[in-house]
Amino acid sequence: FERRQEGLLVPTIVVPLADNEPDSEIWGKNFPREFNSFQMTKDVGLRTKYGGAVQFSRLDRDSNIRHLFAGYPFSVEYNQARGHFWSLEDVEKTARIDTARGGKASFGTCFTCKTSNLPGLMASIGPDKFFDTPFEKMKESVKYPIGCANCHDPKTMALRLTNPAIRKSLSDSGKDPDRLPRQEMRSLVCAQCHCEYYFQASDHYLTLPWKYGTSPDNMEKYYDEIAFTDWTHKDSKTPMIKMQHPDYEIFVTGIHAYRGLACADCHMPYVSEGGVKYTNHHVQSPLTDIAHTCAVCHRQSEQEIRARVEIIQDTIWEKEVRSSQIIAQAHAEVAQALASGVDEEALKGVRQLIRKAQLRWDYIAAGNSMGFHSPLNAASILSDSIDLAQEARVQLARLKKAD
């Protein structure tokens, strides 16, 4: 009657798991609660003010984005992320790598963050081959979306890092990827994929630009040092950098990280079902389950907590759209200058400013949580991007005057 036995349950491994077992369903035999909650990432019902599992096109939400990515597949299709269940289908179906729909053919590297086959493939065919094989070819040996193998050691269920890119970055900075404190691992397992990356030109290796640090300035220093450019802007011919979801890099500068929280504290909270406690693997926007995520530390009403998050997000959204608007103007004004015969050499400085401005805008726009992970830092970076884009327009206006 006092549900005493509930407190004493220890997880037992019944069905033995092969090394790097890709099929999460087999893992689920041993851990039904984690597996069932994991399957719920299939649910695409809930939408919050700026996030949630509903897939909508980001190109429609802010029309400037199409101009900012002119000449790059992100201007063709770019959606808000959904649950992990859809990771494989979404990468295989996106127009971005479908030459028929204006995309650019890609390589096995895209699969690094989309499938639980990854650890197995890394062991079997090795990174060289995996990263170099064309995407369409690698498709054949990839069967499952993100799964237990991405984050867990089948023997001990301990968290482990299976993504080679983050393992390399960590060891480069003197850390042993297999011997990190548990609370750090509860963030790093997410950082495997929720990070800024680029494909090395030569061998398409997935690499993280973390050499000098994870702030926009430090990433820019690295990209400039290796003279890296993702694409040349169609209209302004500016050498551009594409930022992808630097969620971890932004999060570590926020108050929650400063006070010792990990991604899992809000995105994979403890829940008790029928008295048994386990980690909820339904990874989603925490605003859909405030009672389990925030109320544990913030004893205010759900309405009060949600309202405060939306005040933060509204402020960041307003700056994000204003920044993309100015950058779009800058690209257009350079294009006009080119049409009216301004010489290339003179535009070099203006283009540098546009490259810097868009890198910073994208760092926040591609980042998730609409600034909540680190509100002051997000506002400060967007303020820099507005400053740089306007500086470009001032110098351009002067240029036209001078000639």
């Binding site: 403890y270 829940v271 406690k277």
Partner: protein
């Protein structure tokens, strides 16, 4: 036939008393009447709250020191019965919320108890209305610091469920 009835009745009452005694002991019934934290932590979701108190300046205080009214014996047990009923109902139907919220009436009981013990420190400033604000707004971590939920102290060692009331165990 009658001869048979008497021993049957006797056996029945014996079995019944034995069962009742066993149930009372198993459910630690005696503990429910007395003032000790052990009675609250019979329900395991109350254990994380005990874990924090056990490690706080208030380790000498029992749950009921703060959570039950101490003005007089009637209000004490009336409140305990009412709160207890609610909690038991929620508990048995697995309806407890992950991050349990305090009822308004319980908040006022707590304020009264803080003042009951800390009257000295409170004497002067209390007259300027500090009491219209919940002590826990500032003393956020004096009792159960965040993070605080039914699952927030997973492996903490707590006193075992005692099948026998402690007066039997005291050597």
């Amino acid at each position: 036939m009658q001869a048979f009835l008497k021993p049957l009745a006797f056996a029945m009452t014996g079995a019944f008393c034995g069962l009742a005694a066993f149930l009372a002991l198993y459910f630690n019934a005696p503990s429910y009447s007395r003032e000790s934290s052990l009675q609250c932590i019979n329900c395991h979701i109350m254990r994380p709250f005990f874990a924090n108190i056990d490690r706080s300046p208030h380790r000498a205080e029992t749950c009921s020191d703060c959570h039950l009214p101490h003005e007089n014996i009637f209000r004490h047990y009336a409140f305990k019965a009412r709160d207890g009923m609610w909690d038991t109902a929620m508990y048995l139907t697995f309806n407890e919320s992950h991050a349990i919220k305090l009822h308004e009436r319980s908040r006022q009981v707590i304020i009264d108890n803080c003042i009951r013990c800390h009257r000295a420190a409170m004497s002067f400033t209390e007259s300027f209305g500090e009491t219209d604000r919940f002590c826990g707004d500032c003393h956020r971590d004096i009792a159960h610091p965040a993070p605080m939920s039914v699952t927030s102290t997973p492996y903490v060692q707590l006193p075992p469920y005692l099948p026998f009331p402690d007066f039997l165990l005291q050597k």
